[in-house]
Symmetry: C2
Subunit: 210 residues, 2 copies
């Protein structure tokens, strides 16, 4: 939404002076109240100003882009999560590398006998291990994996942006989407920088906010 110069002027007047009546805004601009009516209606309906009867106009603190980003913040992990790929703790590093290629994923989850999350393996972990060791089939993954409680997780109802921030802050490529069970954390999905790249592209392609 592109605001006109006059609408921008109105916002600048209301910001420091609100609550302020339409009459006073018109006065400051040297215009009539009737001339401003459509502009005030637009700014109010766009959520930028708020009108209270017998009080006047407030600035809501929300700009056009903030209203857009409120919509982006509503995106959920569950709408973007992919199928997780898990292996057992006693699998070898060689098995893990093979799974990573077969399933074409960048992050593997390690689970115990109750299928509960105990570790995470990234391509970087496996590359580091493969440098140091000659006998990858003799090394179990639990030796090299990142283990609980150092694993960053997310849940299906978390916002996508919250998950993206975890990926950036922790400098990791993927997160397990987990469900709490009595035995521990069950892995129900995987969310990665690929999910985020797809989400960014989709924002420009579809009409999910209409």
């Amino acid at each position: 939404m592109e605001l006109s110069d006059r609408q921008e002027q109105i916002i600048e007047i209301v910001k420091p002076n609100g609550p302020i009546t339409g009459e006073k805004i018109a006065e400051k601009l040297g215009l009539t109240r009737a001339t401003l009516r459509p502009d005030l209606a637009i700014l109010t309906m766009a959520g930028i100003l708020e009108a209270r009867p017998r009080v006047g106009y407030f600035f809501t603190g929300k700009t056009g882009s903030e209203l857009l980003t409120e919509n982006i913040k509503k995106l959920k992990v569950q709408d973007y999560q992919q199928i997780p790929v898990a292996i057992r703790e006693d699998a070898s590093v060689y098995d893990a590398i093979t799974s990573m290629f077969l399933e074409d994923v960048g992050t593997l989850f390690v689970v115990d006998e109750q299928s509960c999350l105990t570790g995470v393996l990234s391509r970087k972990d496996l590359l580091r291990a493969s440098l140091g060791q000659q006998h990858l089939s003799g090394v179990p993954v639990h030796i090299i994996m990142t283990r609980m409680p150092n694993i960053t997780v997310c849940r299906k109802n978390d916002s996508l942006i919250e998950a993206a921030q975890k990926l950036i802050n922790k400098q990791i490529d993927g997160l397990p989407v987990v469900k709490d069970t009595e035995a521990g954390l069950e892995v129900i999905g995987r969310i990665t920088k690929t999910s985020m790249t797809k989400a960014l592209v989709e924002l420009t392609m579809d009409e999910r906010f209409d």
Copy 2:
């Protein structure tokens, strides 16, 4: 921007019937032209309808979210690119893995003596090579790299979304940002799924569209 029910109704009337006068729209809704004036002003200023004098209102084909996503499409590669990490063609796979860890990147660019792009190495390429070979310091990277013309590149003025689509379509983690020179393609930047994840987060944090 949230549209009111009446504004939605107006759009539904104009879509199949445009060009249509404000008078006719009012008639179809059983309302007066004056009542509709603010709604029509909002829809026009928001870019959803277009008004042509003595002709009437058209539907522009642009919904609120489409107008907002047009802003996302204006983001440029140059605003998100990171510093590229390059190695020479005669460097060994061992050197490449070491660089990848030292510089903490997921994609390395391979350049010739004129510093022109000849290849790309991903973590996946290096992991694959490390599985097959025991003597990584004896294997030059040009044996395992993806080479021109199979390298997908982007340029600094490309839209970020276009670059994101290349990452998704080609199933790769990073792209070189290149500049055309007489000797070939000079690598001036790197754009990755991490850049895209950061862009998605930033969309919800700052006021770049104001």
